[in-house]
Symmetry: C2
């Protein structure tokens, strides 16, 4: 085997791979996200990594970003198959899932979906070709109350509170309200989309750029564009403040929805500093028809929205004539984690999920060490037992490098006395503990 | 949109998609598996879904089973890329991962990995093209104690105990011991592999078939083959029973390893009925060099091994000259679940992870219902609040269809009295509970 060719393993651009300590952080995040999704009554679904290519391209998405599949070394093209492709988001699969299983689902259908998605883009700084999305949606059959829109930001607030990264603010708006405002400033209905696209670029091209775009693309005169932008920039404490800001049925409908959403959110326990009304949020996609959300980290606002979504009129128009209005949001977990690691807001943990290493200094007492480990595990303590014939000093070095909190040590004296030594590797202290009380001791100390 | 073409969504053969109730079961299984992997000190890693094609085919695996990736609608072949492929197991990615990150890992490296894998096989009954594998491995640098081999079956025993599907028995053997037995029955070293391959087919082709194969492939005479098969079939209560069954250094080394593994397992709390020594287990792959495992469900033995693995000499010889011996095992979760659903050993749950639905019969009191839901969620109770303007009867029907345990009901009388009605949908009973004590009540009843 010494002559076997050696392949040098290399990272693949755009496909992130965490170190063990980083993966432990990702798992903690996934656990918090999952727990809150379930806490609010969302049920998990999981779709295959692939969809039929015709499903993936049904909405005319740029198919260059899609990875197609083929069987390597197939005898011919038919055998290779070319009709499957990796999903590039979780919205298309969910739409297909809901349409396919509609008769068995109970509506409103509240689902969460945490899966990787793939985009065959050229890799560039900060862009991933494989990443986790964590989505929730509430989908109605025929209709869906704005109360559903009120729940989404509360879920997101609770998650970012529990992630322990300094919290986040959910910014929200309503596209009908925004269209009504645009209309109230003189834009014709057929130019709403152009106006909203211009407003959506506010962070990217700045106020002057948007003003110019509103004139050029949406047919506004400069003064009206200026007044509109001043309205969009003004702080809004509550929907009631907006009563005189616009007029017309679109504006009224949007204001009514936004009022219900804010009232609902507050009744659901959203604190004042957990959300902000922001009239300038448009969300690029015309897919959204009512409430829209963006989420900004309090500790890292400059990375932009880490969690966006909104209300849509019809989830699955490509597959069914049944009207399925819904509201949803998506956390881009991989990008979020990468930014948090870069900014050192989150520090990777050690290389073990366990708190405790049972050392094995005396190989003649192996059975006793294993019994200690077994008892700790039964008591719910994540425990590793050191398996190799090494000196105690090496075992403690190992414990330190791997990031255990405690090392349990016992030799003849301890076995004779019915005790063990517990070394706290964080505090650099050591204590003698009755063997029978070890689990209780570790559970108490591990706070 | 009424004229838009309608695509009929269809299942894709070999790519399973669970219904919500089935997915809740899968999530419960994943949670049990993850918890016990961590309980024993295994740390999670996750590799991309793809590897470079050269890495995937480094060991000469039949590449027809591999799905290659290409960017749809790329301008040319170079842009399409053809150098990436979906992983078909988690062993190749782990070998590459360990070699790539070797300098940052602490050995013995104990990792778990729960991911989907893909195989581009022609779909046939019971075969999946996408499925979950749940793997653990302990990898040493240079050497690894048989104690590591002792831990693996205890993890697996604990998982199958906690899955609540009637338990499982881990069958184990040692390939050195088996080679030593074969040698003691007159087979030459260069025919060990052929003999073990024959023995590995025991369940498939039966005793007579194996006897014939031992004669034809391994050069045994019929009487010796018969004696060997009798030895392999005899029950073995403990390794000590085997003392006289064979001779020679291979046999002695295998027996010594097996003895250490069994002693270690027992010290770690493995009960007598949790494992069985089975000399006929060979595992087809020559990759395994010592301990080998198979796992059979007590309630469903006929589906064969649901969790197999063993000890190997060198994890990553394709990438590094560093010797990395290890031991591991893999649960084929998707296949296991499919068989359990088919056999009705596991029954899919409802369509919600939540226990409690807060109904909303009086739309004027929406804020109060939302506050009740918020309080329950804060108390750790998974809760949905009914969002739509429907009659109470419809809401209760919804609760029933979705599978909630409790429906919380309140009207003017209850609000005036500071109480709520709790309907237990399983027991079909209803009780009045003080609003302030609702969370305590639900936590107590939900046993």
């Amino acid at each position: 085997m010494a002559d076997a060719p050696i392949l040098k393993p290399q990272p693949i651009g755009g496909f992130p791979e965490w170190q063990p300590g980083e993966k432990l952080v990702e798992d903690r995040f996934l656990e918090v996200i999952r727990r809150q999704f379930r806490r609010f009554g969302f049920t998990p679904i999981e779709t295959p990594a692939v969809e039929r290519t015709e499903v993936m391209t049904a909405k005319g998405v740029v198919d260059k970003e899609i990875y197609g599949l083929s069987r390597l070394a197939a005898a011919d093209d038919a055998e290779a198959g070319g009709d499957l492709a990796l999903h590039f988001d979780l919205t298309v699969p969910t739409a297909r899932y809901v349409a396919q299983h509609m008769n068995r689902l109970v509506f409103p259908f509240r689902r969460y979906q945490i899966q990787k998605v793939w985009r065959g883009e050229r890799p560039q700084a900060g862009r991933f070709r494989e990443f986790y999305q964590c989505d929730i949606d509430i989908v109605g059959n025929g209709s869906l109350s704005p109360l559903a829109d009120a729940e989404i930001p509360v879920v997101i607030h609770t998650i970012f509170r529990d992630l322990d990264i300094g919290g986040a603010v959910v910014r929200l708006n309503n596209r009908k309200l925004l269209q009504g405002l645009v209309e109230s400033h003189g834009v014709a209905a057929e130019r709403f989309a152009a106006a909203l696209r211009a407003i959506d670029a506010l962070e990217k091209i700045g106020r002057d750029g948007v003003a110019a775009a509103l004139v050029a693309e949406a047919g506004m005169d400069a003064a009206a564009a200026d007044r509109l932008l001043a309205t969009l920039a003004a702080p809004v404490a509550s929907p009631q403040d907006l009563a005189g800001a616009g007029s017309g049925p679109l504006f009224a409908a949007g204001l009514d929805e936004l009022t219900q959403v804010v009232d609902g959110m507050r009744a659901l326990g959203m604190p004042d500093d957990g959300y902000r009304l922001d009239l300038s949020i448009a969300r690029g996609l015309d897919y959204y028809t009512g409430t829209v959300y963006e989420t900004v980290l309090t500790a890292l606002p400059k990375i932009g929205s880490v969690c966006s979504g909104g209300r849509y009129d019809d989830l699955a128009s490509a597959y069914t004539r049944q009207k399925l209005p819904g509201v949803g949001i998506s956390i881009g977990l991989t990008r979020l984690l990468a930014r948090l690691f870069e900014a050192k807001i989150v520090t990777p943990a050690g290389q073990t999920p366990a708190t405790t290493l049972v050392t094995t200094m005396d190989r003649a007492r192996l059975a006793d060490y294993l019994a200690i480990a077994a008892a700790l595990r039964t008591a719910g303590i994540d425990t590793e037992v050191f398996t190799e014939p090494k000196k105690l000093g090496d075992q403690l070095k190992y414990a330190d490098r791997k990031g255990f909190r405690f090392a349990v040590i016992a030799g003849e004296d301890e076995f004779a006395a019915g005790t063990v030594q517990v070394k706290d590797l964080a505090a650099q202290t050591q204590e003698s503990v009755a063997a029978a009380k070890l689990a209780t001791y570790l559970n108490r100390e591990d706070k």
